[in-house]
Amino acid sequence: MEETQLPENSDSTESKGCINCGSDNIVEGHSTQLCSDCRQLFIKYPIPLPIKLFAIGVALIMAFALFSFPKNLSNGIHLERGIQFEKKKQYLSAQREFTSVIQQLPENIEANVHLLEAAFYNLDFETLVKTAQKLEGKKTQDKKLKFRVEDIIARAQDYFPNTAMNNLLAKYGDNESGVPDSAYVNFLKANPYNQYGLFAFASKLYAREEWTGCDSLLQQMLQTDSDHMIALRMQATVKRQQGLWNESIKSCEKIIKLNNEAGYAYATMARTYLKWNKMAKGLELAEKSVAINKKDPFNTATLALAWHFNKQASKRDEVIKELKSHADSTALGYVQFVLDVINNKESL
């Protein structure tokens, strides 16, 4: 790679002519005696054919590879955007970006790990399970990714019944509400940290509107995992029912701290404000929840309720109509709840 220069003849006093052709027509002002034609010839020193062929070969391979470049670039942009959203704890947007990557590259480990995390924080258990299954047995050298998968899966396990809990449920036809209170109490004596067991029992008490007992179970859950999002969500509702507005809001804020785009947390908070007779704030938060995630019927139903309590019947009916139009069984349940609240059969 050494670059050297031609010293010979540069200071020669003997040779008066061009060192290449002997011509007397020397171009002055240069260290090498060359005539104009030879100077041009050496300036345009030829590039050998093998070098040209080498360059053509590289250019052809590059051109071929460039065909897939736009798709790869687009995937790279989606992945990076997702990672940026993830850093800002905007998991809904992050999940959208990672899903785009997975559609193109279903086996990509990095995108799948990020999707797993986003799905967990979005409480999208269908995607969580599907992605965890996909990652099972996959090997990666990236220790950070490996640790993330292990951490998320360990935390997500608390959201599902374990073998002991499944055995209990099996005895009662796999129906959580069919399990008698005494069976739950005995089970939780033997398994005091079984998060799913605690939650199942809390849900049963919630349905019976036994707020104190329900809250006590939720607190037990949160002592083990203060970030348990489902426990926090239910706790926000329980505290609202108990008239503990600030505590209810605090639970929602904890969820939002974990996931800035937890639309349901904004909607839950909106319901608390509405029940607290802070209608304008309730409406503002309900609108925010729908802006974040209008696919969640819980948010849309909350907006309908917010319009109702803000005495905007036409807007309320418009939202109810929209909610009914793409109604699945879950959405229909929310529609019914909204109608019951409007008709004073239910309260927030």
């Binding site: 790679m1 220069q5 050496f42």
Partner: protein, 176 residues
């Protein structure tokens, strides 16, 4: 791990070719006659360009450091389409790996050699060299020697890898 220079030269020969071609290209740009070009040979140096000293000191410096620009840009461009499949998505085909090999080989030979530094040194020692050329030239020679020293610790390879990975990252960060 120590690997003799000539072995690295053989393995990364495309970079040596482009390095010498870059010297030639800059000579042509500044209308400096070239008398001999060895694009690649087994030995030390792995390649060289024999040319007339340019009358302009800046041109001399640019001819010496030309490979830094040409190898860096070309290495980055060649690796560009393959960097994402190989480094980010891990789904690259053999063609992608070939491009990465070419891109990294070329970019890692971007550093001017100590021979190139010696040429600049000679220019700087000349009596009529102005102060500005000296101010820029001396640190440049120091940097080239540092780079050469760094190659013992695979600095050139690290640079090549960084260039290959860096450009797609830069483009992506522009869109994000």
């Amino acid at each position: 791990m120590f690997i003799p220079g000539f072995v690295i030269g053989i393995v990364t020969f495309p970079g040596v070719i482009v390095h010498e071609f870059a010297h030639q290209l800059f000579c042509r740009l500044y209308k400096v006659p070239v008398f001999k070009v060895v694009y690649f040979q087994v030995g030390n140096p792995a390649g060289y360009v024999l040319h007339e000293p340019a009358p302009n000191k800046w041109h001399n410096i640019m001819i010496s450091i030309g490979p830094f620009f040409v190898n860096t840009i070309l290495g980055a461009l060649i690796a560009l389409p393959a960097a994402l499949p190989v480094f980010t998505f891990e789904n690259g085909g053999w063609l992608d790996y070939l491009l990465i090999y070419l891109g990294v080989s070329i970019a890692m030979h971007a550093f001017p050699s100590t021979g190139d530094a010696n040429v600049i040194w000679e220019v700087l020692k000349e009596k009529d060299t102005n102060l500005l050329v000296k101010i820029i030239g001396y640190p440049l020679v120091g940097l080239i020697y540092l780079g050469s020293l760094g190659s013992f610790f695979w600095l050139d390879l690290m640079y090549g890898m960084a260039i290959a990975i860096g450009l797609p990252k830069l483009i992506i960060s522009f869109f994000v």
